[in-house]
Assembly symmetry: C2
Homo-oligomer: 361 residues x 2
């Protein structure tokens, strides 16, 4: 099969022929239908987060089950599925206490058999985040995908697999936004727009979108923002505090920078919660004025939207089909696998909401 391989940090992905294994007992072979190109992929391409190479990238996808291992019970051939990097074992401390997204169990992630899942002339290739979606097929654990209703378009379903779950889940689960709460979202890329949309679904009274690009205002408002602050023209902390007479109850950092993480904390009301969704480069530290904690403020990380994806993702599909979750407008461009490096280049300009790679059905 064809796959996009990262061989060296900073270099373009290469489209190569890659061999894929057969499902072990709990594994599932999936024909990839669509894969979103996510900013997190770019972090690894650029080396701001490390990963063992060579690897097949991609981690936001949907497809159709082709074959399953002997013990698989949750999906069957022909099922439409969304994949999720939050592969979970189902029996560790995190899994049994409602935090399956925090599962660190190696058994699910490395594969059950001795055979590598991906190879090239018998040499193993690293699978990226349990998935490797930039490929025509995926071999994954059954706990890394969930079946969805067949009337859901798979290109839009793919987005639910990472960016949408991450943004909406941070609002629903990590920060527990309640009807009437006030919200600020820093960054109007895929994850930020999903957080804005999630805040609207959750009934937030005020949803302040913040971005450096003035041109994002209409897009943000289309997704549910009630207000927009252009951070290249106005200090967003001062603006949010003035607009809300003292700060917001929830803020979401969906950029992945030190400065915006600090802003998320500084724009909180007493008792407010800042949520770090973005991936801040691994070497950086977030600096917070100590005295501000006296206002019972909180800053916390959100890992994949604190998801319980087998429950959450089918619900998000329903939200889309009911017209509440705006996935159509999140896809700015549909491309071929061979164009993946173009998508990364466009991402750096900040203009694109999301490119989705379409595979042959």
């Amino acid at each position: 099969m064809k796959a996009a391989v990262l061989r060296e940090v900073g270099k373009p992905l290469q489209i190569e022929d890659v061999a894929i294994g057969k499902p072990a007992a709990h594994e599932v072979l999936i024909r990839t239908a669509a894969a979103g190109v996510c900013h997190s992929d770019l972090h690894f391409v650029e080396g701001s987060y490390p990963y063992p190479l060579p690897a097949v990238l991609g981690h936001e996808s949907a497809g159709v089950v082709e074959a399953v291992g002997s013990e698989v019970r949750t999906v069957k051939p022909g099922d439409h599925v969304i994949t999720c990097l939050s592969a979970f074992c189902g029996h560790c401390k995190h899994c049994v206490t409602g935090h399956m997204n925090r599962c660190e169990s190696g058994e699910v992630r490395r594969g059950e058999s001795e055979e590598p899942r991906l190879t090239q002339a018998a040499a193993p290739l690293n699978q990226f985040l349990n998935l490797s979606s930039f490929a025509e097929q995926m071999l994954i654990h059954e706990h890394a995908c969930v079946a969805i209703r067949p009337d859901m378009p798979l290109d839009r379903a793919a987005l639910i697999g990472c960016s949408v779950m991450t943004g909406v889940g941070a609002v629903f689960h990590t920060s527990n936004v309640r009807p009437g709460d006030t919200v600020a979202v820093i960054g109007c890329g895929g994850v930020g727009l999903a957080a804005i949309n999630g805040a609207q679904i959750a009934g937030a009274s005020r949803i302040i979108a913040i971005d450096m690009a003035k041109g994002k205002e209409n897009l943000a408002k289309h997704f549910g923002a009630t207000d927009f602050v252009c951070a290249s023209e106005t200090d967003p902390v001062a603006a949010v505090i003035e607009m809300t007479k003292g700060g917001v109850e929830h803020s979401f950092e969906a950029v992945g920078l030190k400065a915006t993480s600090e802003q998320a904390f500084l724009m909180l009301a007493r008792g407010g919660t800042a949520n770090i969704i973005g991936m801040v480069p691994v070497t950086q530290k977030i600096e917070l004025p100590a005295y501000m904690f006296l206002g019972e403020k909180r800053i916390q990380g959100s890992l994949m939207g604190s998801n319980h994806f087998p429950v959450d993702m089918p619900r998000l599909v329903d939200f889309y089909l009911a017209g509440k979750l705006r996935l159509d407008d999140m896809i700015s461009r549909r491309i071929r696998l061979e164009q993946v490096n173009e998508a990364f280049a466009e991402m750096k300009t900040g203009g694109v909401a999301r490119s989705v790679i379409m595979f042959d059905a």
Copy 2:
């Protein structure tokens, strides 16, 4: 009446004659029985936090009601009361949503009448944190005290008024420690020991006490610690991570330093919560490695133990009288008002758990 006045940052308190007003409609006049000398008082003496001067310090006390204003309904003359600096209005956003400790309503704090509560030859003196407990009498809002059962000794009751509520409340309310959870407490002064004791009452499975002074080990274990780490001999972060195979679910910073605040975050397990209880000097910033937030870690402030003191303090009195809350061993010395500066000097040596000023009945 006699009161201890701070006239200038860095100078000793002076024992002076001070006049006190009469209760306005919702105010209560209290005969002070006992007042703890708290490290927070020292912060203001040393100027690491600002306060308008001259002021009568002290904010951890118990006493007997002498007179009440015409509208007071919650206490009556003769009642034994514990005071609390968390004076609350009872009708703002914070008060009506279960967070009365965050109330910022000026109406309760500045007094209802045009007359200042404390004066000296007609010149107003500032009341400290709505209380000014280093004085033979206090004139406060009825929402700054709660009646307790008369069989409770007032010197031990005084401790509940600040340090014990702060430490126990951070465990019960701010971090919501559950039976079987793992806990680390940095600093074994009054607040830290109260947090340790609170964790024991809450059923924590592992309570790791940390202090620079090796001599605190027996004291910490007496209050409920299961383990002790001497931070002057061992890196407490590495020690806690090793002892718990990956970090604790809850950590509490009860020192008030940048370094220990950072340690509290670094010693967390995935999904863990660090609580800043101590007052870190107002100019300092806490620096946190950004990537660690990906483990859904959280750091938050605790203001007076997220108390609902009218409910909490009578319960803490019951815990003491049932032998669960160890207040007797928290008082290391009983002194006269005139010795208050000695108490501050001893506090700086780190040897004393708590000095309590006793007033004539």
